[in-house]
Symmetry: C2
Subunit: 336 residues, 2 copies
């Protein structure tokens, strides 16, 4: 590339766009589906149930401890497919770049996407690039859409949740939120906290292959564990009772939350999942999770109750019971 | 909605996000795939060749004569599927909103998406919303991804293009570009020019059903007719000879281009397609196009030549021949 910064012309659809696509995107993502560079990628699928998802990533800053916007945009979309029980296959990648972004920063992000996708066994097969004027964006926004196949025996939905079901979380909560927050505010910690950003589809596959008692799964991103549990309670029209003492929480995250005044139950996670499972499969699911490095600290955190419908209760460490509501307001903008 | 402007909290994943999704998106797009509001939409497809495409829309301003960013985001993605010979089925919709956007503006855009999708017979089945701080975006960016099925007898690719093939454009060029430009600069015209923004999948279907001589199709958006022809010349490794006099051009677009110093061959179109067809099917394709209102002004504009490879020549109205290169630089940022 002749220019070291992205210019408006890189988004014109003309010569510089063509060079950008060839030199950055095609080079990093190279695969047979992308290569024709048509307006659409084409692939064959057998008759199947297909999962389709989209997410735009606007995280600030674009590089952070444990990841970057590129890794996040691949993992996040893989996870949205995985928690539906789908095998992720293909991703799209669409970039909205602010004029002036360093080409090497874009390259680093794109390389990170490529690495993450390769490790996850998914292909980025179609894309788009737009450039907006300085001050009309913020360095880089990325949208990824994902397509996956749901195998015949898999059927997950909050509507399958029943009273007595067990609620499992795959690991410690709040790591991503605190990592971003600490990085933004330049707080110095003894042990710097890294984002948990990771692709969860293999953990999901492990669990699904070992148990058919899984009712529903979700990844507690924006709004955190508390908000996601509320969504599940609303969708299933049941209640949930969570035991605070059983929620995995890293000491350093707990400490940072206390100092900074954040509640870890509302902080975003990018490499954790919540599974609601039948009582008799809880042990198997938990043990299976613990065998996978991404589920090592999995824990049973509560049970599904009949009433009150659509509400989540937290039994606190001091033995009180209080309603755990959805996030209201905004703790941390642009966390993902 | 209690608030008349979008707040950062609408992107938090918490209560306000939930209300925004329910009151604006679910209400407008309502369909059985979207309604479970899971992290992914699920649908069944028979064994098929699937087309998959993504585009982010950053057009400024978001409302313009003949359309708005919502209509554009649906038509543009439908068209990227259609020119691959695919029947568009499902779209995703992802919104990056700048804090402070009027809720009624968002609602107008979303309603326009819904109307356009309904008219086109496609469903918007999954979505995402992010909010960025004031000054870190520009009102509204939308990403749509599309999924379509390519039927068995359809096989389009620039690699099928042969010397002697005929180049057809489905109507007048430059309308979208001039409409946006005139609107931005507040130029007063006798007859205001409207964007040609339209979904082309039914025009494509008409043509495909009448002829099996279609080699490849493209919609000449950013970079215009000239850039798209260059891309086709490069992909097919052949040359093209275009006759300027045969390129449909509205008088008012021609006039505006002369006054403003723009070349209509480089201006974006959002409701036109280029078809490269075998010589013996040209007449059928042209006549079929002309029967559809969106192809009424279709015209044969040139032929494919063996050499020079990857180049496009323009026979001008005064009888000269010159190279018609890809767009270099940027005429009009944020045209789509």
């Amino acid at each position: 590339m002749r220019n070291d910064r992205i210019l408006l012309s890189h988004g014109s659809g003309g010569k510089l766009s063509y060079q950008l696509v060839q030199n950055i995107f095609v080079k990093a993502f190279q695969n047979e589906y992308l290569l024709p560079l048509n307006d659409q990628a084409i692939f064959n699928l057998p008759a199947s149930r297909i999962a389709f998802t989209t997410d735009s990533y606007v995280i600030h800053p674009i590089f952070f401890p444990g990841g970057d916007i590129g890794k996040l945009s691949v993992c996040g979309t893989i996870n949205d497919l995985a928690v539906g029980g789908a095998d992720p296959l293909f991703l799209s990648a669409s970039f909205i770049i602010e004029e002036g972004l360093l080409v090497e920063e874009l390259k680093a992000v794109v390389d990170s996407m490529s690495l993450t996708a390769n490790n996850a066994g998914v292909k980025i097969i179609t894309g788009d690039t737009k450039v907006v004027e300085r001050g009309k964006g913020d360095k880089l926004f990325i949208n990824t859409c994902g397509i996956g196949i749901i195998h015949n025996n898999v059927n997950l939905s909050p509507s399958f949740i029943r009273p007595g079901d067990v609620i499992i979380v795959s690991g410690s909560v709040g790591d991503h939120g605190i990592a971003i927050l600490a990085h933004r505010s330049d707080i110095r910690m003894e042990a710097p906290i890294e984002s948990d950003c990771a692709a969860l589809h293999r953990l999901v596959k492990d669990v699904i292959s070992q148990s058919n008692g899984i009712r529903a799964m979700r990844d507690p991103t924006r709004g955190g564990l508390a908000t996601t549990l509320n969504e599940l309670a609303i969708s299933s029209n049941l209640g949930m009772l969570i035991n605070e003492l059983n929620i995995p929480l890293k000491e350093e995250v707990k400490g940072a939350c206390e100092i900074l005044g954040f509640d870890p139950l509302y902080l975003a996670n990018e490499g954790k999942l919540i599974a609601i499972v039948s009582e008799d499969s809880a042990k198997t699911v938990l043990e299976t999770m613990k065998k996978n490095p991404l589920g090592r600290n999995a824990s049973i955190i509560g049970t599904v109750i009949r009433e009150p419908q659509g509400k989540v209760f937290l039994e606190t460490s001091v033995g009180n019971k209080r309603i755990l509501d959805m996030l209201s307001g905004e703790q941390l903008p642009r966390i993902c």
